[in-house]
């Protein structure tokens, strides 16, 4: 078992929280992991990414090789484009929020971004903000995106639930519930999409 995952977004959008949840879930299943993060200046509203690698065997490199990522999980649509070159063209899935984070004046037309994503053979795009709001708070949009990625991660769904309970537990039961619901909503979205594509 080996999954190489690129997490993408803008500083402050919560990609490290996604990484922590996947990491905790992976460790609970006895897997090894390496996770390269971005710290420092680029965290201030700039593009951020994390290379997350989980495997049943020892992992050598902290960085994922180009064209070999099993997944791109992006909490922002334009940011998902930045790592197209990292995705494995034969097996890789891209899961991205459709909600733009516009803090630059030359932000492209959102439809054009989605058109580029939809050219890929394997993708899930979702209105994570809307789905998160329905679960109680737009702040859980990152967890919705994570939920949408779960079917491709090769880990048990319950491992993610346990990870959320562990990580958000000290912040109170309300946050745990909201995030569990967000995870489920994202997960259901992808399952429905996959079911439809089989028909």
């Amino acid at each position: 078992m080996k999954k190489d995952i690129i997490l993408a977004g803008v500083g402050g959008q919560g990609i490290l929280t996604i990484a922590t949840i996947i990491g905790t879930a992976a460790l609970s299943e006895g897997l090894q992991l390496k996770q390269a993060e971005v710290h420092g200046m680029s965290q201030r509203g700039g593009d951020v990414q994390s290379h997350l690698r989980i495997s049943s065997d020892p992992i050598a490199s902290d960085l994922i090789a180009e064209a070999s990522a099993d997944m791109i999980i992006s909490v922002e649509p334009m940011e998902s484009l930045r790592y197209f070159n990292m995705l494995n063209t034969e097996t890789g899935w891209l899961v991205s929020s459709m909600n733009p984070f516009k803090n630059i004046s030359n932000y492209p037309v959102v439809e054009d971004i989605l058109t580029e994503i939809w050219k890929l053979p394997r993708y899930v795009t979702l209105d994570a903000d809307k789905i998160a709001k329905e679960q109680g708070t737009v702040k859980a949009a990152n967890i919705v995106v994570l939920g949408a990625a779960v079917p491709f991660l090769g880990l048990k769904y319950s491992s993610f639930e346990d990870a959320i309970r562990k990580i958000f537990g000290r912040k109170g039961t309300y946050l745990v519930e909201v995030n569990l619901n967000a995870l489920k909503a994202g997960y259901d979205f992808t399952q429905e999409k996959l079911a439809k594509s089989k028909v």
Partner: protein
């Protein structure tokens, strides 16, 4: 023991705690900051009374650590690579004094300049000072080698450098801890003149240092940090140092590497171990993160030996960090192509935060400067360096810590009057104060914008050494009271603030305008903590 999931930086910190550390001395700098922060947050460190508050700059940190080593205890110094430039005087001379208690200097390099102004390679500093350098390739080695570094330091009475690079510093993996060692008791060196580098003593000390070099090289073999791994295909041998070794392994998943590989994680490298590889292969590929220090040595000036491939012959690019793909290409293996990055993608550079006081400080400064020609703002290193970018376009330099004030003096003396220096509170106490003394003594016609956000913001909000002391420092250095102005950088004070700038720009002497408002990030964190406390109290 359970595995701990730690950043490379944190693995160093835990390794140092477990090695019997008594003090960590540092100034924050990406990618080294998390070492000290980990020790500050560690309950074990607290229980052992490990000193861990921030130093004013890397030089004071290094010197304080030398002092702790003199008094027999184990000390760790942490900095980013350019911080070592600041600490260089103390660092290089510490090789001459030698260490008494274990003394380990961590320098975290930033190839590809993710958060830095250059990509200098600290291994050259280690070579320059002629002390051992350790270069871990993964988080477990970072932990183990930190412990080993203290042993080595005390065995040979020498400071030891531990060199990290960004991808190790800021990447997490599981590490296994070993037993915790006792801390040292205070003790002084048997020779109380050991640390007196008067020429007569320094000459002796230098001979002592030179005499240790062969043993240093031999240690790299004994420790198995430099190890030759056999391979059948002798057409090429590979030397891989530090994190480059991982990228090599990555290209042979689940299989043995066909070529002989010399893994290097300790310097100086013994001639013996290099020769044992060199003699059995037709050519050598050198993989190292940073400058080609091994490769250069291997080629020599004449470069007339066997074929050497590396950064110097463009097998690998000279600039930038390595990655699995670059190494794969260097190995002559096929590299798969991913999807093309769509052309509509735009860059997203970092920005000052919404509500950051720097927006208002530079907003007012920009307006006050409209009546002058452009190019007058010499700046410094901090979040405010981002004001170089649109929409502010405020500043014209960023060179090294503290350079704003001194460059402004020089520019003013060349005729650029008024010249402005823009500097943050933490950078000011790091290296700006001495420059301000120069300005006062010269009566230089400069206006200093001192942005006091009460923290070291760019690295995540660490304590600022001059907190609550800035006016006293400035007045003590001799700036005239009526030209020390304090403004509140808020939009509603914009017009008043512009006027203050205009008045001081018109004054042909040293003025300091302190723009004082707390960093929006530390403020938000403080409010959150306060809120959390209230909730706990209520429940």
């Amino acid at each position: 023991m359970d595995k701990l999931l730690l950043l490379g930086d944190e693995a160093v910190a835990q390794g140092a705690i477990d090695a019997g550390l008594s003090g960590v001395y540092a100034y924050p700098g990406t990618p080294s900051t998390e070492i000290t922060e980990y020790i500050q947050a560690s309950k074990e460190a607290k229980g052992r009374n490990i000193v861990s508050d921030w130093s004013a700059n890397e030089k004071t940190a290094m010197e304080t650590a030398i002092g702790m080593s003199y008094a027999g205890k184990k000390a760790l110094v942490c900095m980013k690579h350019v911080g070592l430039n600041v600490a260089a005087d103390a660092f290089v001379n510490s090789a001459m004094t030698g260490a008494h208690g274990g003394l380990v200097v961590v320098s975290a390099d930033d190839p590809s300049m993710h958060s830095s102004q250059n990509e200098q390679d600290s291994r050259f500093y280690g070579k320059f000072a002629q002390i051992p350098v350790l270069e871990p390739s993964n988080q477990q080695e970072a932990y183990d080698m930190t412990r080993y570094a203290f042993d080595l330091s005390e065995k040979y009475g020498t400071p030891v450098m531990l060199r990290l690079t960004t991808r190790l510093s800021h990447s997490r993996a599981g590490i296994i801890r070993k037993e915790m060692k006792e801390q040292n008791k205070m003790s002084l060196p048997s020779d109380l003149k050991q640390f007196v580098l008067l020429p007569a003593i320094a000459r002796k000390r230098y001979n002592t240092l030179l005499a240790k070099q062969d043993a240093f090289a031999e240690e790299g073999i004994q420790s198995e940090n430099n190890i030759l791994i056999d391979g059948k295909d002798k057409s090429m041998g590979i030397i891989a140092s530090g994190i480059a070794y991982n990228y090599l392994l990555e290209n042979f998943p689940g299989e043995t590497i066909p070529y002989p590989v010399l893994k290097i994680s300790q310097y100086p490298v013994s001639k013996k171990v290099i020769k044992s590889l060199y003699d059995q292969v037709e050519s050598i590929l050198v993989l190292e993160e940073g400058y080609p220090i091994i490769e250069e040595g291997l080629r020599g000036i004449l470069d007339e030996g066997k074929t050497i491939k590396g950064r110097m012959d463009d097998t690998l690019p000279m600039a930038g960090e390595l990655n699995p793909r670059k190494v794969r290409k260097a190995l002559g293996m096929e590299t798969p192509e991913g999807y093309a990055i769509p052309e509509i993608l735009e860059g997203r550079p970092p920005l000052l935060c919404d509500g950051c006081p720097h927006w208002d400080s530079f907003g007012a400064l920009n307006e006050a400067l409209t009546s002058y020609s452009k190019g007058r703002v010499l700046s410094d290193i901090g979040c405010y360096t981002l004001s170089a970018l649109p929409p502010l376009n405020s500043i014209n330099s960023c060179v090294d810590m503290g350079a704003s004030i001194t460059m402004a003096i020089g520019a003013a003396e060349a005729g650029l009057v008024p010249a402005v220096a823009a500097i943050g509170d933490s950078t000011f106490t790091h290296s700006g104060m001495t420059g301000l003394l120069d300005a006062v003594n010269k009566k230089a016609p400069i206006t200093v914008l001192l942005m006091d956000n009460a923290t070291t913001g760019m690295t995540g909000g660490q304590d600022s050494a001059g907190f609550g002391k800035l006016e006293n420092i400035i007045l003590g250095l001799g700036v005239e009271q009526e030209h020390v102005r304090v403004i509140n950088p808020l939009r509603r004070h914009h017009d008043d603030n512009v006027n203050v700038f205009k008045e001081e720009l018109a004054f042909e002497g040293v003025s300091v305008i302190i723009a004082r408002r707390e960093c929006i990030q530390t403020l938000a964190r403080r409010m959150k903590q306060k809120h959390a406390k209230k909730e706990t109290a209520a429940s």
